[in-house]
């Protein structure tokens, strides 16, 4: 089944709502504790990325018994160098956002750490698409 959320750029008051709803849904479904934890972090970081960097975007969560797929598509400035953006601490967030405690350049590395598969494509001045897959493994094994 699928959940879809529209995310507005710069709307910090609502940031995290989509991720919270996804978490609740995964708990209702009875996903493994670790799957829920990872999916929540991926969804939250992806949601925040749209809020911080894009004009607007869409977050989708596809829930299957064996995996969760989180897709984030946005209209925005895009990422010129994805490899650079994946580095911990690298951020293009302006100082005012950093002062709020966001945009510390941990978003994409966190997403990568918590997903089993990750694809990112981006076009400068157009936008970014991200697709993260988290497998629902029974607890214990990696």
């Amino acid at each position: 089944m699928q959940f879809e959320f529209n995310i507005e750029g710069m709307n910090f008051t609502r940031a995290g709502e989509a991720a919270a709803k996804i978490k609740k849904a995964l708990q209702l479904v009875g996903m493994e504790v670790e799957t829920v934890r990872k999916a929540l972090i991926v969804a939250y970081e992806a949601e925040l990325n749209i809020v911080i960097h894009a004009y607007h975007g869409k977050l989708t969560a596809e829930v299957n018994s064996d995996r969760v797929e989180i897709k984030a598509e946005d209209k925005g400035p895009g990422i010129p160098d994805i490899n650079l953006a994946m580095k911990e601490g690298y951020s293009t967030a302006p100082p005012n956002i950093r002062e709020m405690g966001f945009g510390a350049g941990m978003g994409l590395p966190n997403i990568e750490r918590c997903s089993d598969k990750l694809e990112i494509t981006s076009e400068v001045n157009q936008g970014t698409q991200l697709l993260a897959t988290i497998y629902n493994r029974t607890s214990g094994e990696k």
């Binding site: 089944m1 995290g16 991720a19 919270a20 209702l28 479904v29 934890r37 929540l40 939250y44 829930v63």
Partner: protein, 444 residues
Amino acid sequence: MQQYFHSVKLDENKCKGCTNCIKRCPTEAIRVRDGRALIIEERCIDCGECIRICPNQAKLAITDSLERLKNYKYTIALPAPSLYAQFEPKTNPEEILGALLTLGFNDIYEVAVGAEAVSMALNNYLQQDHPKPLISSACPAVVRLMQVRFPGLLKHIVSIETPMEISARLAREKAIQQYGLKDEEIGVFFITPCPAKVTAIKQPFGEKSYVNGAISMSTIYGELLHRLNSPDTRPVESLSGACGVGWGKAGGENHAIWCNSHLAVDGIHSVINVLEEIERGRLNDIDYLEAQACTGGCIGGPLVPQNLFVARVRMEKLVKKLSSQKTKPLQLPKDPDYFRLTKPILPRPTLKLSEDIDQAISMLEEVERITEDLPGLDCGSCGSPSCRALAEDIVRGHAETAFCIFKLRERLQLLAQEMVNLSLKQPPAMGRAREVEIKEGDTR
């Protein structure tokens, strides 16, 4: 599902089914059915929020009465540090302990002393490598909240017993040593500010509890006041220092331990906000989180007699006074294993729609569909805390769409319309007969 003991119960005769409590419950554990509040046992964390909010005093906490002291040869009272803040500043802990002793206990062991021992153990524990931030294990309502709503964070909880348990164990060991008593001859009773501690005694997080029962602070308060004024009451030496007593209020635990950065949060709904933040991978620059379900900490517990703000001022005064005094030498265990929780704290996955994941997914689809169709007013008239919760209840088979008064009205309107339509219709036989009659009449 395993049966859980709960301290929080409903007085059926007092409940009016007003739905105030269902909205406030942090785990959506209450429904109103047949005009009465109903607690979903496996979700309840015994935080006591509903006791606080109920305008009709229909929610109560099951605690022990002083009668139970008779079952033991030797009884020990364990006063929570928050007890000291319930009395006027001129009443010092020595007098309060003396009054407590006259209620029929053979001895007293202050939980503040256990808190001091736990503070040392915590300092030790914090030196080692653990996931950050570490979360305090002291408030059982918070631990149970995490089992139900934040199972992913259970590994952050310090694997250390609470000051209540450590005090009980120390008190027991002392009695056994001094008087050669047998373990089962000793009855240890905690003077509790909350129902969550009662549950923690009956259903301990570790292997077993060293406490035998819990007596509500507010129940014995009147009697204590009375005894304080009695000439027979003699003061009993208090061994508590500022650091242990401080545990009775929010922030006190952090004050007693040493680490680079800590955070104290109190009030269950604020605790939820902070836990959500940690769950999203934030706040890992913090070493230690002290989280207490009650606003103000234990001095704000649902079973304390005094107003929180009054208690807070008194507590602060007492802590200040104690910190200026010389600390009394205490003999406390140093072995880290003495303080360890003997069992891991496991999740209580009570939200699942079904044991079968594929079935749960289709049930969730159904929940979404029904939610979409409900008015979204979250009015609570259906007896569920929100429209979304009603949808979940319907899918679980515990409610019907008609519980929603708006849906019911919609259906009634349709039904009424249908009745009007029906009333306009005439049976074919009769209709024609009249037509003929009229026609015939006309021609005549």
